[in-house]
């Protein structure tokens, strides 16, 4: 009750005030400053004696000039390291280009999802350009994006886990197995498409990330199929998968036609020549590979 440290508290008070003035912006000192400002009588001394020993050691570490120097050096080192990482990372993964593919908004995502499931009413499939660069996906439904494929991939892994769980075949490692297996198939598909594009010497402005985006659109159909199968049984799975396969086939053909085929063939006029034929076959096979993958990656989930 009778605080023996009161006296020491009194003696420490002027010291505390000095230290408080030298250190600014530290949270503990705010508390102390408020209470020491109202310096009247024993009560403040009592109240200060309590929190003082707790915060005193903290104050001493922070107000020591050496530790100030160390803190400044450490923060500058951290910012330097961050700069270096950013610069080097940008060399390997083009982050600025990636940002374009994630510039989406809710309207775009809604319209695109509707387009992926029901592309038959859409008329204008061309990507609009703005001074040689394609317009951001936010402003053009036809532009490819990476948001839907990324979310679709993650949702597919989760739905696969759900489907396996309803059949009592689930274990946490299976989630990782599903994810890496789907990822490997995706990478192989993108590499195969790249290789075939190189072999047929198509002059197109499709980048690798564009191909990744187009290959990732099939996850939407797979999710719809698996969820329908979970809710309503196998016939619903087959029906919805059939519908989504047809939709993705149509979507891919319509989208790739403008990018891969020459101008004349894209407009529908019949153009002879082995090269155009090859390109047509290429478009067809890319589009036909999507339903195959959709079935391959989901049939083992519905038993």
């Amino acid at each position: 009750m009778d605080y023996t440290p009161t006296q020491s508290g009194f003696r420490q008070q002027p010291n505390m005030r000095l230290r408080n003035s030298s250190v600014d912006g530290v949270e503990g000192s705010q508390l102390f400053e408020d209470m020491s400002g109202a310096a009247h009588g024993l009560q403040t001394g009592n109240q200060q004696a309590g929190p003082q020993p707790a915060g005193f050691s903290g104050q001493s570490i922070l107000s020591d000039p050496m530790s100030n120097l160390a803190m400044a050096y450490g923060s500058s080192l951290a910012s330097q390291g961050r700069e270096m990482v950013d610069k080097n990372l940008d060399r390997f993964i083009p982050i600025s280009k990636l940002k374009y593919y994630f510039a989406v908004d809710t309207m775009y995502v809604g319209k695109k999802l509707g387009l992926l499931v029901f592309p038959y009413m859409h008329e204008n499939w061309e990507v609009s350009y703005q001074q040689d660069t394609p317009v951001a996906p936010r402003f053009d439904v036809n532009a490819p994006d990476l948001y839907i494929p990324a979310m679709g991939f993650i949702t597919y892994v989760l739905v696969a886990g759900l489907a396996l769980g309803t059949q009592n075949r689930f274990s946490p490692e299976l989630l990782g197995v599903q994810a890496s297996s789907a990822l490997v198939w995706l990478i192989m598909e993108v590499l195969a498409v790249l290789l075939s594009l190189y072999l047929v010497t198509v002059n197109t402005d499709l980048t690798t990330i564009d191909l990744l985006a187009f290959s990732g659109y099939k996850y939407v159909g797979m999710i719809v199929g698996v969820v329908a199968g979970l809710l309503f049984g196998r016939p619903a799975y087959y029906l919805s998968l059939l519908w989504c396969c047809a939709a993705i086939f149509f979507f891919m053909i319509r989208t790739l036609r403008l990018k891969l085929l020459s101008e004349a063939a894209a407009e529908g006029r019949l153009v002879r020549g082995t090269r155009n034929q090859l390109r047509m076959y290429l478009t067809m096979s890319i589009a036909a590979a999507q339903p195959i993958f959709m079935y391959w990656l989901t049939y083992h989930l519905i038993r």
Partner: protein
């Protein structure tokens, strides 16, 4: 069916090794000898593209393959 990323890496190394140990002359006999054409025209054709691809993979990947193969041998010896 259950592929892992590691199996993808294995596949890639094996395929590139296969391209690297190819004997060009014997391969070309069975493929249709297209060597003399050059094909600088508008339309190189699939066969010429395949040959160009194989030639360029062999040239580019020669040194990295040595490194990767040595690393694989050491790792497989150590860890089975």
């Amino acid at each position: 069916m259950a592929f892992t990323l590691y199996s993808l890496i294995q596949t890639a190394i094996l395929c590139i090794n296969a391209i690297a140990v190819l004997h060009e002359e014997r391969f070309l006999i069975g493929f249709g000898v297209d060597q003399g054409v050059g094909g600088f025209g508008d339309d190189p054709g699939v066969k010429a593209q395949v040959l160009t691809l194989i030639r360029s993979v062999r040239t580019v990947m020669r040194v990295p393959l040595i490194i990767v193969n040595s690393a694989c041998i050491v790792l497989l010896l150590l860890f089975g």
